[in-house]
């Protein structure tokens, strides 16, 4: 299960929309044991493509260091599919390197973005639920879910 505070969920989807017409991507940091996202890192798509993505290597290093400084670690990646379902493509499965990561796909094919998350291990795809937490990540005003 992947748990995301509502504001981070919105930040992720907004980054995907802002990347159109290309695929957008970013990294998720948090607690690997709980699967709770504490921070979203929007990154550049070094492939600059509507069909594939490659997280910019310098953005990746900065996110990894920042996550560690905050006592968290990178626990997953999100990317958009501009014209297809929110389901991992064969390319995603071929390149998915970490069985402990959460692989989030945001489909922008329809009017409303569709967010789904998967674990990918040994070439096998398993969908997991995404829980959007109804309050903000940082101290502040609670938002009704």
């Amino acid at each position: 299960m992947l748990r995301m505070p509502r504001d981070l969920h919105l930040q992720m989807v907004a980054h995907c929309i802002s990347g159109l017409p290309d695929e957008a991507c970013g990294l998720l940091a948090g607690d690997p044991a709980e699967g709770t996202v504490a921070r979203v890192y929007p990154t550049r798509n070094a492939a600059a493509s509507a069909r594939v993505y490659s997280v910019d290597s310098r953005d990746l290093l900065q996110a990894d260091r920042d996550a560690e400084r905050n006592g968290t670690q990178l626990i997953g990646v999100f990317h958009s599919h501009t014209h297809t379902d929110a389901y991992p493509s064969p390319t995603d499965v071929d390149q998915a390197p970490d069985p402990d990561w959460h692989y989030v796909v945001v489909s922008l094919r329809d009017t409303h973005p569709v967010v789904r998350s998967y674990r990918i291990a040994g070439g096998e795809i398993e969908e997991e639920s995404v829980v959007v937490l109804g309050q903000q990540a940082h101290a502040g005003v609670a938002v009704t879910a």
Binding site: V52, Y53, S54, S57, L60, L61, D64, S89, D98
Partner: protein, 93 residues
Amino acid sequence: MAVAVDVRLPTVLRPQAGGQSTVTVKASTIGDVLRELVSEFPGMSGQLLNEDGSLHRFVNVYVNDDDVRYLESLDTPVKEGDEVSLLPAVAGG
């Protein structure tokens, strides 16, 4: 001249290094660093270098803040005090 260089390992490679997050190797270039790692921890062989000795495309290698692919790749020199970081490349379709 070979110098001692600290190498930060990503979580996926730590089991092959007995759980260590940082290891120290003697090297003068990034190519040396990777060959030393493979020699010391053979479990990393297929993940760092291709059979022809070139850099595997699924791994990113950095000297301090810079990706060696934007420097001189495996020929990038390392000097005393440099920190080398390895991270799995993150990509898909």
